[in-house]
Assembly symmetry: D2
Homo-oligomer: 288 residues x 4
Amino acid sequence: MSTNGTNAILLIHCPDQPGIISSVTQFLADYQGNVVDLDEHVDRDHNVFFMRVEWEMENFGISKEDLPDYFRENYADRYNMKWELYFTSKKPRMALFVTKLSHNLFDVLGRQQSGDWNVEIPLMISNHEHLRDIADRFDIPFHYIPITKENKKEQEKRQLELLKENQIDFIVLARYMQILSSDFIGYYTNKIINIHHSFLPAFPGAKPYHSAFDRGVKIIGATSHYVTSDLDAGPIIEQDVVRVSHKDSVKTLIRKGQDLEKIVLSRAIYAHLQRKVLVFNNKTVVFD
Amino acid sequence: MSTNGTNAILLIHCPDQPGIISSVTQFLADYQGNVVDLDEHVDRDHNVFFMRVEWEMENFGISKEDLPDYFRENYADRYNMKWELYFTSKKPRMALFVTKLSHNLFDVLGRQQSGDWNVEIPLMISNHEHLRDIADRFDIPFHYIPITKENKKEQEKRQLELLKENQIDFIVLARYMQILSSDFIGYYTNKIINIHHSFLPAFPGAKPYHSAFDRGVKIIGATSHYVTSDLDAGPIIEQDVVRVSHKDSVKTLIRKGQDLEKIVLSRAIYAHLQRKVLVFNNKTVVFD
Amino acid sequence: MSTNGTNAILLIHCPDQPGIISSVTQFLADYQGNVVDLDEHVDRDHNVFFMRVEWEMENFGISKEDLPDYFRENYADRYNMKWELYFTSKKPRMALFVTKLSHNLFDVLGRQQSGDWNVEIPLMISNHEHLRDIADRFDIPFHYIPITKENKKEQEKRQLELLKENQIDFIVLARYMQILSSDFIGYYTNKIINIHHSFLPAFPGAKPYHSAFDRGVKIIGATSHYVTSDLDAGPIIEQDVVRVSHKDSVKTLIRKGQDLEKIVLSRAIYAHLQRKVLVFNNKTVVFD
Amino acid sequence: MSTNGTNAILLIHCPDQPGIISSVTQFLADYQGNVVDLDEHVDRDHNVFFMRVEWEMENFGISKEDLPDYFRENYADRYNMKWELYFTSKKPRMALFVTKLSHNLFDVLGRQQSGDWNVEIPLMISNHEHLRDIADRFDIPFHYIPITKENKKEQEKRQLELLKENQIDFIVLARYMQILSSDFIGYYTNKIINIHHSFLPAFPGAKPYHSAFDRGVKIIGATSHYVTSDLDAGPIIEQDVVRVSHKDSVKTLIRKGQDLEKIVLSRAIYAHLQRKVLVFNNKTVVFD
C-alpha cells in the first residue's frame, strides 16, 4: 500500500526526563519524517511528559509495518512510554448511541455527511424507535435495542456483538439515556464519549437544567467527557457555557443548553478523531 | 431639601395579577413622575410579579416624606406587595471586610475613588493587619479585629457595633476568610455580598482552585452572592467564567481566577448600588 | 376557527410619552387578555418607545378578525404607532437560499425537523446543484437557479415568483454567495436574514477569515443581520465570538467559525420566528 | 552574582528546518539546564519557527556572562535566528503614560503593589494633572508634560530623556490620549503597549463606544497591541469581549467596556513581562 498522503500520529506519555523531545525529534529527522505538528506538555506536579507528533509517511525511512516494533525497541521501552500510533489512512469507525433527542444527532450526522470529519458511522443503536427515521434519511443502519432492568445484561451483550462485528473504534453517546455497566465500559476505556448537559462537576446526574433553574445560576454549561464507571466523573474533554438570567425558564434553559451540547460534543469528537486527546490520572491533555 | 436631580427607585414584588403595571405607571403619570427606567418580570412558576421603576422627583406631585405612606396605603397594601423605596440623593454606605488578598480590594477602591460608584466606604474591617497600608493610602479607617474560635462571638459583637456606629447599609466580603455566624447574617439579610472563587454550585467551600485543578475542568468561574447561613448557597447575583486548559497549574488558575473575582464582585456591588437586585426564594432578579 | 391555544403577539414602536404602557396593559386587562409575556424598551436618545406583548386569545373579548381595526382606531392612531400583529396559529413560511456550504443548512433543517421551530420550509433556492441531495433527504423542493452577471435580473424575477407562489414570509440566506439587488431586497424589508462570517463591522465583504488571519486577531466572530442594500451593513440581530490564537491557520479559523455561524444564524432565525425583533434606525431591539 | 533562583528565558524565531528543537534541547541537556517551560510554534505559511524556552541557571554549565556569545556562535548564527535572552533576576522597568481616565491605572498599580507582577514603575508621564493624586498615593514620581500641536516635538524629547534617565524597558499607554510620533515609536519597537477600547479592526480611532452604539453591535471589545506608526494597526497581543444589547446606552457601553480594558491591558502586560510575546510580520505569537 502506498503511503502517499498518509500521516503518522504518535501519542506518548511517560515519566519526564531531559532529552525526550530531543530524542524523538532527532529520530524523525534522521529518517526524513517531515513533521506537520508537534505538541508537548509537562505535568510538573506528577512529572509526566506528554507528546503528540504528526509527520508525513511519504519518504519516511521506516515502513508503516515496521514502525511499531522499531519505535518500541528503540524509544518506548527506553523511556518507559505509554504510546499509541495511528495512520490517517485508516478512517476511525464510530458507533452512535441515542435515545429520543435529536439535536446532537443532527449535528454529528451533518458534519460527517459534509465531509468535515474523517469518520465512518456504520451503525446507530437506540433503546427507543424515535430516531429511526433520521437514521434512514442518512442511510445509517439503525438497531433498536430496548433496555429494562431485567434484560440489561443481555442487551449490552447484543450491543457489544454489534460493535465488534462493525469493528467499532469508539462510541459516542449522543444523549443516550442509559447508564452503561462497568463491564461494558471496560471494553472501551477512553473510547466512549458522553455529553452531559451541565457544567460539571455542577449538577451531575438527572435533570441538570431543572437543578440549574432551582439554584438560580447566571450561566449554564455542557460537558463532554470519557465515560468511566463513576457517573459523570470521567476525564473532561471539553466544556462550554452560555449566560442566562432570571428571565429564563427551564424550557429556555433547555433550548439554550442544547446549542451548547451540540457544539461541545462535536468539538470533543473532533479532538478525539484528530488524536489530540491524551488521558492521564482521570484528566485530559487536549492539544489544539 | 430640594429634590432637584434626585430620582426615586421603587422595588416591588407581589403575587401577579392583571393591572399592576397599569396601576403603578398610571400613578406615576398622574403625579408627573418622569419615568427614567422601568423593568418588570413575571415568575410564571410561582406567579410572582417583580418591578423596578425609577423616576425623577423634580416636579413630582408627592414629596419624599409623604411618598412611603401614600404608596403603602394606595398600592402596596392593595396588591400585597413587598417593596423598597430609595432616593438617589442618599449615598449608600458600604463596609469592606478583608483578610490578606488585595485584588478585590484594589478594584473596589479604584472604582469608588474614580467616582464611578455612588458609595461611601466609612470603614474596613479585617482579621489580619496585612492590608492596613492600602486602607491608609485610600484614607479609609481600618479596624483590625482578629478572630479565634474562642473570641468569635464577642468579636462579631464589636463588628456589629462598628457597623451600627457608621450607619452601614451593606457589607462586602472582599475575600474575607471567615464564616459569619447566623446571628450576624440575620442583621443584614440580603445585604452581605460575598465573592466565591468558583463557578457555584461547583466547588463550594475551601480551596476551589485546587479542586478545579484536580477535576481537570476546562473552564473556571467566580460567583458573587448574598450571604445566607447556608455556606456558599445564598442567592447568586453574578457569575463569570474563563477558559483554562491542561497547561494551567493551580497557580495560573488562581491568577486567571482573580481577574474573574474582581469583575464579578464589582458587577454585583454595582447592581446592588443601582438597586437592581431583588431576592425571592433564594434566587435573584437582576435587572440590567 | 377556534382560538384555543392561539396567542396574539403585538409589536409596537412609537414616540415615547407617558401612559402608553398603562393604556395597552389596561386594554388587555379590560378584555380578559391573559398576558404571557411583556417587554418594553425606551430609546432615550431618540425618544422612541418599543413594546412586545403576547397574550392568550382564548376568552379574549375581541376576535382575531376585529382586533386589527379595533387596535388601530383606539390606540395605534392615537399614539402614532408603527405596529405589527401576529397570531401563533399561523406558521411562518421560510425560504432557504444556499450555495455550496452545508453547515448552516443542516443546522436549520435539524431544528425544523425536530419540531424545535414552528416554521414551514416550502422551498430551497440555490445557484448551484451541490446541496440538492440534502434537500431531497429532508423532502424539501429544491430549485436550481444559476446566476450570471447577464441573467441576474431575470433570475431574481424567477426567484420572486417562486417566493410569491409559496407565500413566503421571510428568507434565510444560509451562506448564499450572491449579492441580492436592491430591487429584490425592497420586496422583503427586514425579512431577509443573512449570516456573515465575521464580527461586523470588522471584515465585511469577501474572505473575512483570511482577513482575520492576516490581521492576527485573537477572537473571531459571526454576525446575523437583516439584509439591506448596503452590503453587510444591515441591522444586526445576533453576534457571537470564539477565541483563537497564533496556532490557528485559515483552515482552523474556518472550522471554528462555522460553529459560530450555525449558532448565530439559528438564534437570529429563532428570535425572528418568536417575533422578538423590532427594527428602528438600522438597529434592532431583540427582546429575550 | 549568584544565579540561585534565576531563570534564563530565550526567545527565538528563524526559518524553519528539521533539527532546531532537537539542537536547542540537546544543548540545554548537555549543560544541565533544567527546563521549566518550553513552547514552540511553526508558522507553516511563512515557514518560520518560534520558540520560547525557560530554564534554571542554577547548576547550568555556562555563566550568564558567557551565555550570549556562546549561544550566538554555536546556534543563532547557524540557524539564522532572531533571538532575545532574559534573566528573571533583572526586574523590567515600565513607564506609565496616562491622561485623565484612571481605571487602567488603578488596575496596573494594584497588581504591582500586591506583588503579582515582577516589575518596577519608576515614573508616570501625563499630559494632564488629573491623576497626580493617584501617583502620590502609590509613591510613583509623576511628570506633567502637556502637549500642544506646537510643542509636541520638544515635549516628546523631554519624555525620551526621562525614559532614558530611568532606564525604562517598556512603556504602557494606559488610556494615554495622544498619538506618539513615528520618531518616538522608533525608539521602542514592540516595547510600547496600548489599550484600544474596541474590538479591532472594528472601530479604530476616536470614540469607538459611540460608533459601536450607532452600529448597534451585540458585543463590544477591547484590544491591547504594540504601537506602530500605523494608528491602531500594530500587532495584537490580547482581546476580549462582552455581550451588550439594545438596552445599553453609550454610557453603559463605556462602563462595561472599561472592565474589558482593565483585564485586557493587564493580560497583555503580564504576557510581555513573562517574555511570552514574539512579534513577526505585524502579528504576535503569545505562548500561554
